[in-house]
């Protein structure tokens, strides 16, 4: 089979528009997975992915399809993560393809992620095949969808294929379109071997497994390979393809999608976006688009029980093996003891990692207030990066603080416009474009400080728009802002875990609501507990934890002494499940609860 009978494509869609269901149909139709072993949604294999309906890891698969022209085609389907947190991963998966099937839910129409993904595909010069999916739904609105295709995405309406992953409509049309419209593998003629790493997996027996798309040349077991970003060399132990389980083959050639097992044991050495070449005959140019991924969001993670420190450390290490975008380093907090500063691609990424620590590694953790990376310009012009509010230098030593911003596109129903504009304003955003999408919806383009969307922006967008609003974003520039560090003190002791950077104009509000919230979350205490918010030592808000009023066993005669002791022991044990800050017991979820709807 020549590479000219290979097609590499992906499916891109807004969440829930039916990507996984359709992929499963394609696998089924091409007999890649027999009906018997087919579990619904074959490609989302991680529990968490299945539960949340999101894709975190790539799940490439090779299918064979006999087209109407009589030829057998090798179709490599790349399932890509859809969430904005993973946009770099998405871009690398797209870079491994020549075409993209763009799904639009016939009942929902174009949404923010549809637009963002379509633009990503265009920028990778992929051939986009529009598919209007879920046409079996009574509420399907084909006319609206085709018009949006033309107006918003400038894709000719007649290119659209009508399909239903659920009812199996349009499956052959899609496969035929992939064969006919997606170009054969590009850059095959490049004189040396070049393989794009679009993901990787750590296996405790085999070490790092690179997921690759071969653009030119070939690679086989025994070759000495080289990673072009670092020049690191390693021996190839095995190559293979995804059927969808890994299957060893003799060699990978131009156009192929597969995996490479090498002698590399350190996951961080195999970077997504890197180019693998053959050491003896190396390529001179890397494949385009390689970037060092850098985490955008940071928070401290601490074991609830300090005895669990080693367990947490092991959990982080294991998670990192399969997730190069997640970084961590040890740190300590006055309030929380020894823990780790962790960096994530975004809030979803942060939530997923925290959830996996709790679930798969069984460690109860406390997370501090999330932070972005601030650029602080010191007197004398030095720029320092601050990812933990605790480390924010004294205001007297700096000229200004710059914060990261994002460019967001938000799609929403017309009637929510007023409320969303106030939300954007409250979050210090500026809206500079408004496009009408259809009779009912508009698309806003705006700039927002990244910090402001971290905690509850998406939840509030969803609640204001009754679930119909959607947002996508890319990173913007760093901008100077009037930011200050706010400390929270419990009985006069600063609790560094609650420190945050806020805009001066928001400080009073934020301080008040944080104090109120904490006063509400901390259970009534016997001793007085004051909660204060302070900026530069000046108190801007205060509140008191409710006083405990009654906790007494009424009847306590001689016979009860042992029982009473047991009761008090239980009470004492209960306290151990809390985080002790000075003399105050704080329930571990307080740290998360204060983050919610400020």
């Amino acid at each position: 089979m020549s590479a000219n009978y290979t097609r590499n494509f992906c499916i891109i869609a807004h969440v829930d528009h039916g990507k996984t269901t359709l992929s499963d149909r394609l696998l089924e139709y091409t007999n890649t997975v027999s009906m018997r072993v087919m579990t619904a949604q074959h490609l989302d294999s991680m529990d968490l992915e299945r539960e949340r309906g999101i894709t975190i890891k790539s799940h490439p698969v090779t299918m064979t399809y006999r087209a109407k022209d009589g030829h057998d085609y090798k179709l490599n389907l790349m399932d890509t993560p859809g969430h904005v947190d993973f946009s770099y991963e998405v871009s690398r998966s797209l870079a491994a393809c020549e075409g993209a099937v763009l799904l639009i839910d016939a009942a929902q129409g174009v949404e923010a992620q549809t637009v963002a993904n379509a633009h990503l595909a265009f920028s990778q010069k992929l051939k986009v095949i529009p598919v209007i999916n879920k046409i079996d739904l009574p509420s399907a609105n084909l006319e609206l969808c085709t018009r949006q295709l033309e107006d918003i995405l400038t894709i000719p309406a007649e290119e659209a294929i009508l399909a239903s992953g659920k009812s199996g409509i349009g499956i052959v049309d899609i496969l035929e379109a992939v064969v006919a419209r997606v170009p054969p593998p590009r850059w095959q003629e490049y004189p040396q071997t070049r393989c794009l790493v679009f993901d990787s997996l750590y296996d405790s027996y085999r070490g790092c497994i690179a997921y690759v798309r071969i653009f030119s040349g070939s690679i086989k077991a025994g070759d000495m390979m080289m990673l072009m970003s670092t020049g690191q060399k390693a021996e190839v132990k095995e190559v293979g393809v995804f059927m969808p389980k890994m299957e060893k083959i003799a060699a990978l050639g131009a156009g192929d999608v597969g995996y490479i097992v090498s002698s590399i044991k350190t996951p961080a050495d195999v970077k997504t976006g890197d180019t693998i070449t053959i050491a003896s005959k190396p390529a001179t140019e890397m494949l385009p688009g390689y970037k060092e991924v850098r985490p955008l969001v940071f928070c401290g993670l601490y074991p609830l029980e300090s005895d669990d420190y080693e367990k947490l450390k092991a959990a982080l290490g294991r998670l990192r093996l399969n997730d190069a975008a997640f970084v961590y380093a040890s740190e300590s907090s006055l309030a929380l003891g020894f823990g780790f500063r962790c960096g994530f691609l975004g809030l979803l990424h942060m939530e997923i990692i925290q959830e996996r620590i709790r679930r798969e590694h069984d460690v109860e953790i406390i997370s501090t207030y999330p932070s972005v990376i601030y650029h602080v310009i010191k007197h004398g012009g030095d720029l320092i990066e601050v990812d933990n509010p605790v480390n924010m230098p004294d205001p007297g030593t700096m000229i200004e603080i710059r914060e990261p911003t994002i460019r967001a596109q938000i799609i929403l129903p017309n009637e929510s416009m007023g409320d969303i504009l106030s939300l954007i304003m409250e979050k210090r955003g500026v809206c500079d474009h408004t496009d009408t999408l259809d009779m009912n919806r508009v698309m806003l383009k705006c700039s927002l400080p990244l910090n402001e969307i971290l905690v509850d922006f998406n939840d509030r967008l969803k609640s204001i728009t009754h679930g119909y609003g959607s947002m996508d974003y890319e990173l913007g520039d760093y901008m100077a802002a009037d930011l200050v560090k706010m400390d929270i003190m419990i009985n006069g002791d600063p609790v560094d875990a609650f420190s945050c950077i806020v805009h001066r104009s928001n400080a009073d509000n934020r301080g008040r609501s944080l104090c109120e919230k904490l006063a509400e979350i901390i259970p009534p205490q016997m001793f007085k507990v004051a909660i204060q918010a302070a900026i530069g030592g000046k108190i801007i808000a205060r509140d008191n934890v409710k006083e405990m009023r009654k906790d007494v066993t009424s009847k306590c005669y001689g016979g009860d002494i042992s029982r009473k002791r047991k009761l008090l022991d239980k009470q004492k044990e209960g306290k151990k499940k809390m985080k002790q800050i000075g003399k105050v017991s704080i329930p571990p979820d307080a740290f998360i609860k204060v983050l919610q709807n400020n």
Binding site: M526, K528, R549, V552, G558, K564, D569
Partner: protein, 396 residues
């Protein structure tokens, strides 16, 4: 206060008080709130109970005279007059003299002239009557077996029999009870002029019918309401001349229950009968809470088989604080320090200082007492005391 100090310091000496508790495990039926061990009486069961009680008493190493006796239950009044007499005989044989105080709990329905005569003759000085409420509807709601008329007839008989001290037990925070209704109950009790009144806040103990109702959401807890009821009770009884001497106990001068005070001060007492607890001869523990199993053990010469712990000065000091702080006399910290110098007193003193700073406790010389606000938090205080004893480093 020096009296209290010496009493505590000499708890184990030959002159120290010694209590004797007898658990009479019979009740006609089970009250909704009850977590005590009790069972339905049968002729054989009562006979065996009396025989085994005598046998158990014989197992005890009596080293000094008993100063106070308390018969509780269950309902001791369920016993027939001649059975009461037998039980009294067992007690008298072991007492080594006439006790200063001898209390018997009697349900109003069980008060007869015959029983009272037997008890008076035996040397009983104090009768404690479980009234619980003067409101017929609330009595019903508790699953109690007596009427308002019975209460008054019983009270008059007890008074006429000439016992030197009479207590009425009341309960509050009953489901649906208002503050006014409870005030009326307290007034009704005061109007009968008992020497002692105990007021118990209804507690939801596991393994009671009431607990089941609570967990099914049929009864609701309202701590703020309970606080108001507590405060109202304390004020009302103080105004009526009943001095509070413990969270739930009030007495006219000279009528505080010495037996209970003795246990709260961590002195010694011997408990007889199924489920009865003892603190005596270096051990604390309880008998098994089962009539048959208890008899089997006693027959084998075994008693205090459950929850046994060796008494150490530190444990006693800790419990003297936990239970003593519930009393209005408070605790003589210096006396306990002298008796048990190795306990983590620095941590304890730090805690007591904090309690005083927040006006949860007061300090007068060596004696610490809780304030009214502190007493309402006695369990939290107790938990802190335990923590101080377990976490605090011993003073060098």
């Amino acid at each position: 206060m020096s009296g209290l100090a010496t009493a505590q310091a000499k708890a184990s000496s030959a002159h120290a008080p010694l209590g004797l508790y007898v658990h009479v495990p019979f009740c006609a039926s089970t009250c909704d709130f009850c977590a005590f061990y009790q069972t339905q009486p049968t002729v054989d069961g009562v006979g065996a109970f009396l025989a085994s009680t005598a046998r158990e008493a014989a197992l005890v190493e009596w080293t000094r005279p008993v100063t106070t006796v308390f018969w509780g239950g269950g309902t001791p009044g369920m016993l027939a007059a001649r059975d009461l007499e037998k039980l009294a005989e067992t007690v008298r044989v072991r007492c080594g003299g006439v006790p200063d105080e001898w209390t018997v709990e009697l349900a109003p329905g069980s008060v007869t002239d015959e029983r009272l005569a037997v008890l008076r003759a035996a040397g009983v000085t104090r009768v404690s009557m479980g009234v619980q409420s003067f409101q017929p509807s609330l009595l019903d709601a508790l699953g109690r077996q007596h009427s308002l008329g019975q209460i008054d007839r019983a009270y008059e008989r007890v008074r006429a029999a000439g016992f030197s001290s009479v207590n009425l037990d009341l309960m509050f925070a009953l489901p649906g009870q208002t503050e006014a209704e409870w005030a009326a109950d307290v007034r009704a009790a005061v109007a009968r002029a008992p020497d002692h009144i105990s007021t118990y806040c209804l507690t939801f103990e596991e393994d009671t019918k009431l607990w089941v109702k609570l967990s099914q959401g049929r009864v609701k807890l309202d701590p703020e309401h309970e606080v108001r009821l507590y405060e109202q009770t304390w004020a009302q009884l103080a105004a009526a001349g009943y001095g509070q001497y413990e969270v739930s106990n009030f007495a006219r001068p000279g009528h505080a229950c010495r037996h209970n005070l003795n246990t709260w001060r961590m002195n010694e007492w011997v408990g007889l009968g199924p489920s009865a607890a003892s603190q005596h001869g270096g051990w604390r523990g309880a008998n098994i809470a089962d009539l048959d199993q208890w008899q089997i053990r006693v027959a084998r010469g075994e008693r205090v088989t459950e929850d046994r712990v060796a008494l150490t000065p530190a444990l006693l000091a800790e419990d003297a604080l936990i239970f003593g702080l519930r009393t209005n006399d408070g605790v003589d910290v210096a006396a306990w320090r002298a008796r048990c110098p190795d306990a983590p007193w620095a941590a304890v003193e730090e805690l007591l200082g904090r309690l005083a700073d927040e006006e949860l406790a007061t300090r007068a010389g060596p004696v610490v007492r809780l304030t009214d606000r502190g007493r309402l938090l006695a369990d939290s205080v107790g938990a802190e005391v335990m923590e101080a004893f377990s976490a605090g480093l011993p003073v060098a």
